[in-house]
């Protein structure tokens, strides 16, 4: 909301600069996005160059058809001659004048005296766009009669102003109003509050106003007022300027009044052309199925039976609280007006406004819950202005409601506020703070909440907040005592970090890929019923496909050594409402099976685990180069997924971590050194080396401390369909030094076992 300070200061007298006002409001009340300087420059006594003038004479310009020569009294005794191109005034008009030397936002240089087609012009009669008070350049500004010529223009129009651009939080709809903001400023900065006290016009030629509210939940209050003899026309300059500075467009006097009063009180109003309402009547009800309404933005809206409608009993004339209908809109031809000052229930309005994707200044307030008491002063001020500005007669009034809500009373303990805030705020100060915000505090600390805060403040803690926000910038920064705390990661969290570090150390970079994917290998994967896009429709059960895409990004970017990992959740359908969320670690690395396995071996080694794999197919992997581990799978990426040769793995971390020993126990591996021997055996091509190692362990027992395949040879020396596998063997006892002979006997036992199990022949 835009808040012109000149307007705000009409309701609050406070000795504070715009910056001080903005700062206090920002700390204690609402977000102040910025402070905008508007109008003419305020330097070198520039404002003194702007005066109110009265046009004494208007004469045709002898040399120019479009110009006129005016004699203008600006309080100097003699009139000033000013040449003017506007035609919307005559002698006697009160106008805004800039004297030579004035700095105008539209001019690069100060205004000077000059000749226009042979006639001397000693100043300028101003249009609103020339000093930032409006968009209009069709004519000059005509001010109300009765202002003394020579008066400073700044007293009549906000030619120099600061405008706050503010955004209240959703609980503070009362701050979407000039009165609400004035109250905050008065309370926070010690100002005097003087809100408008509208002088309600008396009803003349009284008539009945027929208003029926069929849905009093949706519309708890409806004040309908009717006016006759309405003269629709342009608004006076002060109203145009205020609306302009407040970010609203001037439309016509009656429409401008509704917008103006909404800005003053925060309770939106609507004006109907009463002649367009069947029998001048209002019926508030929900929309009928299939009903349509053309709103005044020209759009035909298809309505839902949950939408609250203002109707005339026959058809809808407005989408309640959101936007009026085109047909019943006030126009130049309007002479009778029905003014709506109502109250609407917020949630329904929010739903309709969201469904129709139609947000207006009105709906923005209603959806947050406007105080129903405000309808009355809003109706009074609007009536006064319609009567004054449109020459109308107020001819009828009705106020339909089934009782207005009671003001909540909340028991409050000032010492509780002090305890929660952590700052000793004296009781007298707390009482003063609450009173300033409009709360009535009894001597025994029963606090009656003002009507405009009744939705937001219902509990003691809500009152504590009122005190807290007033003293927020004085609250000392302390630290909690933190007795009985224990700051450490769980085993799983610690191990996850180790996995991250090992993979980074192995040269892999961490990618972040989306949890929501377009497709997942698991047909049962959870699908969002209403996804944002088809790309983000399914909760993934596996990480590697996302990494494949990420690797493709890397390849496309020209990287020749892409190696990526990710640690993230997968979401396994579990039959319950909630899926089984599991941490997975996945990786995609250039170089095929061995590359993936090398990384995995490093990872297992770091965790104190031995990597054991068995051949097992996986849909993402090359069928001949795929393996499973207890915690997941690894292999060469299926060649159709990504061009080139890639290795990949994915592990379920909880399963992996279950096997990680709590601690490593000491073993004496120094005192009795290992005896190292190598063996090479020739076996059939399809015998897997892992099976040879397993068999070797089985044959040699615990004295075989290490067995590692270090070479596989295929060729003429071993014959077709056969391969030679060379294995380092390390024999070691923790109790004595083994002899070479013992080692050789064990080695022979291994060779014998391999011969028996795999037709292995010792290679010479």
């Amino acid at each position: 909301m835009r808040v012109p300070l000149s307007w705000l200061r009409e309701y609050v007298t406070v000795d504070a600069t715009p910056a001080e006002i903005a700062r206090r409001l920002a700390v204690s009340s609402l977000e102040v996005d910025r402070v905008i300087d508007v109008g003419v420059a305020d330097l070198d006594r520039n404002l003194a160059h702007f005066l109110v003038g009265r046009v004494l004479e208007v004469a045709a310009h002898p040399n120019a058809d479009r110009l006129r020569v005016c004699q203008v009294d600006v309080g100097e005794g003699d009139a000033r001659q000013i040449v003017c191109g506007a035609w919307n005034f005559e002698a006697g008009a009160t106008v805004a004048v800039a004297l030579p030397g004035a700095l105008l936002p539209i001019l690069d240089e100060p205004l000077d005296e000059r000749e226009l087609r042979g006639e001397f012009s000693r100043g300028m009669i101003l249009a609103e766009d020339e000093i930032g008070l409006g968009p209009d350049h069709a004519g000059i500004m005509v001010l109300p009669d009765g202002i003394e010529p020579g008066s400073p223009l700044v007293d009549a129009l906000p030619i120099r102003d600061q405008v706050l651009d503010v955004t209240p939080t959703i609980n503070r709809v009362d701050l979407l109003s000039m009165v609400g903001l004035a109250r905050e400023v008065a309370a926070l900065l010690g100002g005097d509050l003087h809100p408008p006290e509208p002088d309600d016009p008396t009803i003349v030629d009284g008539e009945a106003v027929e208003v029926t509210v069929e849905d009093s939940h949706g519309c708890p209050r409806y004040i309908g007022r009717v006016f006759a003899g309405v003269g629709i026309g342009a608004s006076p300059q002060w109203l145009r300027s205020r609306l302009y500075l407040a970010g609203m467009r001037s439309i016509s006097n009656v429409v401008d009044v509704t917008n103006y009063v909404m800005h003053v009180y925060g309770s939106p109003l609507h004006a109907f052309d009463r002649a367009k309402l069947a029998e001048g009547r209002i019926v508030v009800r929900r929309a009928h199925a299939g009903e349509e309404l053309r709103t005044l933005d020209g759009t035909l809206r298809r309505l839902d039976p949950s939408d609250l409608m203002i109707t005339d009993g026959e058809r809808s004339v407005a989408l309640a609280a959101i936007m009026g209908g085109e047909e019943s809109e006030v126009s130049d031809a309007t002479t009778e007006v029905l003014l709506e000052a109502a109250n609407f229930e917020p949630i329904g309005i929010l739903r309709s406004s969201e469904r129709l994707a139609l947000r207006t200044d009105g709906s923005n307030r209603w959806e947050k819950g406007v105080d129903p008491y405000l309808a009355e002063p809003a109706a009074m001020l609007a009536s006064r202005l319609i009567v004054d500005l449109a020459g109308a007669r107020l001819t009828g009034h009705v106020d339909v409601h089934a009782g207005l809500p009671e003001r909540p009373v909340v028991r409050f303990r000032p010492e509780r506020a002090t305890r929660v805030i952590g700052l000793d705020v004296p009781e007298g100060d707390q009482r003063e703070i609450l009173a300033g915000f409009g709360f009535a505090v009894s001597p025994g600390w029963d606090v009656t909440v003002p009507t405009w805060r009744a939705r937001d403040v219902t509990r003691e803690i809500d009152l504590v907040e009122e005190v807290a926000r007033a003293v927020l910038d004085r609250v000392p920064a302390t630290m909690p005592l933190r007795r009985h705390v224990r700051g450490r990661l769980t085993k799983e969290q610690r191990l996850r970090r180790i996995v991250e570090d090992v993979l980074v150390g192995a040269g892999l970079s961490e990618a972040y890929t989306w949890s929501l994917v377009a497709a997942d290998p698991d047909a049962a994967a959870i699908r969002l019923p209403d996804p944002m896009t088809s790309d983000q429709a399914i909760l993934r059960t596996t990480i590697v496909p996302g990494l494949v895409e990420a690797a493709r990004t890397g390849v496309d970017a020209g990287a020749d050594d892409v190696a990526l990992f990710e640690i993230a959740r997968v979401y396994l359908p579990a039959g319950d409402r909630l899926p089984d969320e599991r941490w997975h670690a996945g990786a995609v690395v250039g170089g095929g099976y061995a590359a993936a396995k090398g990384v995995l071996e490093a990872l297992y080694g770091a965790l104190g685990l031995e990597l054991r794999v068995v051949r097992a197919p996986h849909p993402l992997l090359h069928p001949g180069k795929a393996a499973a581990t207890a915690a997941g799978w690894l292999g060469e990426l299926h060649p159709t997924l990504l061009e080139g040769v890639w290795g990949a793995f994915e592990l379920d971390l909880a399963t992996l971590f279950d096997a990680v020993p709590e601690r490593v126990l000491y073993e004496d591996v120094i005192t009795f050194p290992a005896v190292l021997q190598d063996v090479a055996v020739v076996v059939d091509e399809d015998v897997e080396v892992g099976a040879l190692v397993d068999a070797a362990r089985e044959a040699a027992g615990p004295l075989l401390r290490g067995a590692r395949v270090f070479d596989v040879y295929r060729g003429d020396q071993v014959g077709p369909g056969r391969k030679s596998v060379a294995i380092h063997l390390a024999f070691q006892s923790t109790e004595r030094t083994l002899t070479e002979d013992e080692a050789t006997r064990l080695r022979d036992a291994i060779v014998a076992a391999l011969g028996e199990r795999f037709r292995a022949e010792l290679r010479g």
Binding site: D462, R482, Y512, G554, Y571
Partner: protein, 331 residues
Amino acid sequence: MDAQAFESAALAAIAAAATPDEIERVRVEYLGRKSELKLALREVRDRETGIVLNTLRERLESAIDAREAGLARAELDRRLTEERADVTMPGTPIRRGHLHVITQIRREVEDIFLGLGYTVVDGREVETTRYNFDGLNFPAGHPTRSPLHTLFLDDETVLRTETSPAQIRTMETQEPPVYIVSLGRCYRRDTPDATHTPTFHQAEGLVVDEGITLGDLLGTLEYLCKALFGEDRQTDFRIHHFPFTEPSVEAYVSCHLCDGSGCPVCRHSGWIEVGGSGMVDPNLFDFVGYDKERYTGFAFGWGLERIAVLRHGIPDLRELWRNDPRLLEQF
């Protein structure tokens, strides 16, 4: 044998040896198993000859050792004088991976709070509306409850919109004192642009204990701001509104670029918003069965992306999900 002639010949050979190999050959020739001296020693029958030959052997051994050491020293001197590396040549490459910048920040925030005695809680990402909304005091009709803002799996299941459900789950399973942080992915129906991605990361903090004050919250956030953004940063706190805290406070840190004097990054305000927080609303304590008279608490939820933007100047949050190696390897 003629010990004297043998000694002269040996000493001459030792003096002539110019390399470690040559001195080794001399050792074999004059002291080896088949050397004249060794053979003579084997033949010795009388004590006197034995003494003479043994002392000769010791003399030769020490002469050879001395020559060997001298040669080694000369060789070392030569290497140290002659050998020379171009120290500006690149080293042997070792491939190094990179943690994602958000992970780096996640760990840093975790470590800050581990140091303060907090534990780290891994919350769920798929949540029931009970934990995502009801327990957190979201009123009926709150915009976040709308499918326009939140991704629903069904009427009662959502992708969490903030890390706060972890607060409720933690309080349901443990009695105060509670000192936790919870970090991870959150989801909202936001169209991706420079400042929004539909998946983002939050760091949630929750403290519940006797005597916790708003001042404790401000002190903790000030500590966090300084730890993340530097000791010379100023902090500022302004009132805000969230369903799960009362009162609620938004934290600001003085702009790192202009140091508070105003620049485009801070929109000429000198301050940058870093995250929301507040005192735990007593309704949450009612929900989990804590004594709201005895305990007070505070909570905060900050975006990790925001920290990344402020600290690293990342201009567009979508970059964090691009996985281009040129981006990943910057951090």
